[in-house]
């Protein structure tokens, strides 16, 4: 047997082992999920846990069906999803624009430094009531809540990426006689794109927090509202259903951003 076929064979074996491990991991994951659901169902049926508090998978599934059929779950989900997307897009763009202004004018950046630190340290949700008074109890306040929670950290992170651009790249542009705008467009902004993408990931999570809290406070529509409502009427099946829907949607958004990141990485690296 030649060396080449030996290596090919060993490689085949390696790949097979990898495939097998992957399959085992997946099966174990599925097994855990179903065991959990099964135990939950049984425990709830036999009142080992309080069914009023912990509900049960079958009840949640049942409610899911009912709420899909009367269209209300879709409406609430669309509202929350839309608010989250809006707030996370606005926060990322706004944060990046403010960071660009800070980079452009070092004086402004020095002046605003302590204010940004304070704003960043402050728990933004505490501003919720003020937002509602200022912007009215509606979408606007909720989206503002989501923006507020992630915009400061986006500004700080993106600004520091702008600020830490490799000086030598800037020097390349300058030796060609490039002005500040060209330095920003050709070097500072493109080199910060990976950082901006990674703040997108963080902002997905933060926006969900802002939106849900906003909906708690405004209490009109959306999954946050369903949770609060379910809590008030002691319908924990509704609370758990809303939680599940949020988990699924947040995962979808996060995966979407992850795919965007990979796409850009491939084009950039």
């Amino acid at each position: 047997m030649s060396l080449k076929t030996k290596i090919d064979l060993a490689y085949e074996e390696f790949k097979q082992r990898e495939r097998k491990t992957k399959k085992q991991v997946f099966i174990t994951q599925l097994f855990m999920l179903f065991t959990f659901l099964g135990l939950w169902e049984i425990a709830s049926n036999k009142t080992l846990i309080d069914p009023l508090l912990f509900s049960s998978p079958s009840k949640i599934l049942n409610l899911f069906y009912v709420k899909i059929m009367d269209g209300s779950l879709i409406t609430h989900s669309v509202v929350t999803f839309g608010e989250t997307i809006a707030s996370f897009v606005i926060a990322t763009i706004l944060g990046t624009v403010v960071a660009a202004v800070l980079w452009w004018t070092p004086f402004v950046s020095k002046v605003s430094d302590p204010y940004l630190v304070v704003l960043n340290a402050m728990p933004k949700v505490a501003l919720g009531p003020i937002l509602i008074v200022a912007l009215g109890p509606g979408y606007l306040s909720i989206i503002a809540m989501g923006v507020l929670i992630s915009v400061i950290i986006t500004t700080l992170v993106v600004y520091s990426a702008f600020h830490e651009t490799n000086d030598n790249y800037i020097k390349v542009i300058q030796t060609f006689g490039g002005n500040k705008k060209q330095v920003f467009n050709e070097v500072v902004f493109p080199s910060a794109i990976p950082t901006i993408i990674s703040t997108l990931k963080v902002n997905v999570g933060l926006s969900w927090v802002g939106i849900i809290v906003g909906e708690f406070l405004v209490s009109k529509q959306g999954l946050g509202y369903l949770i609060i409502y379910g809590f008030q009427v002691f319908n924990f099946t509704l609370v758990l259903l809303s939680l599940l829907v949020i988990a699924v949607m947040a995962t979808i958004m996060y995966t979407g951003v992850g795919m965007l990141e990979n796409l850009l990485r491939k084009r950039q690296s």
Partner: protein
């Protein structure tokens, strides 16, 4: 009239708690088409001098002129090569080599065609659509050379452009840069701390001393060596004597410290 005139140049870097004297009272003239090397220990202000000539910042005292024109406005006559290639990693080779033309607003079919021809000349014509990370260090530095030459500068400022390369690549690139610059009749200033490289490439070697950076001495390379390609100079019998002379001079400098 000299091509480049540096007149009583002194520069210091300021920070809140100190002022670092980088260069003191530098005066020199460079003729058109001349190749001059700056040799000296690290920290003697060689990069500072090139940056000042490139007009990246202004000297505290003194003036620099190219054909009697202050360097503030001379960026279109200057090309700069750095210790590393600093090709922009998110741009293709094509976009990288056209960068200078784009910034200076001179991007047109003719300037593009000339730049691609230059790339072909370096045997790198097929790298156009690639990204910098796909190429070796030597290839990248050659592409950086194309990027620098694309704007057709009259004066080349070379800041240790070979120091990050392996020895073999470095020797090859010395020859390539030398012949390319001679072919296009460029004036060049080369910063290096490699004595052999300075002798092999230049018409004239200027030795700097450190703290603060000052011109210590100057050697004119005999014409027959100056004309020769760097690799051949290194193998020439007269090379050793000049090397020895400069070597002793630099040792003296170290002892003074």
């Amino acid at each position: 009239m000299a091509f480049l005139t540096v007149d009583q140049l002194t520069h210091a870097y300021f920070s809140t708690d100190s002022a670092t004297m980088a260069l003191q009272d530098i005066s020199l003239e460079v003729q058109e088409g001349e190749f001059v090397s700056f040799l000296g220990p690290s920290g003697c202000g060689k990069t500072t001098l090139l940056s000042l000539i490139a007009g990246l910042f202004q000297p505290v005292i003194g003036t620099i002129s190219i054909r009697n024109e202050p360097v503030k406005q001379a960026y279109d006559q200057i090309g700069y090569m750095f210790q590393q290639d600093y090709l922009l990693p998110w741009k293709t080779i094509e976009a990288n080599i056209l960068l200078g033309l784009k910034i200076q607003g001179n991007l047109n079919d003719m300037s593009k065609a000339m730049t691609f021809e230059l790339l072909d000349h370096m045997n790198l014509g097929d790298t156009n659509k690639k990204y910098p990370h796909e190429l070796s260090g030597g290839m990248r530095q050659r592409i950086a050379l194309v990027r620098t030459l694309a704007t057709n500068p009259q004066l080349l400022l070379l800041d240790e452009p070979f120091s990050a390369l392996d020895h073999q690549t470095k020797l090859k690139l010395e020859n390539l840069v030398f012949t390319t610059l001679k072919e296009h009749q460029k004036t060049a200033l080369l910063v290096t701390h490699d004595i052999g490289e300075a002798i092999a490439m230049s018409d004239r070697v200027i030795v700097f001393s450190a703290n603060p950076g000052r011109i210590k001495s100057e050697y004119t390379i005999p014409e027959h060596l100056a004309k020769m390609e760097p690799f051949d100079v290194r193998n020439h019998e007269d090379f050793k004597d000049i090397f020895q002379m400069i070597w002793e001079e630099l040792n003296e400098l170290e002892d003074e410290d």
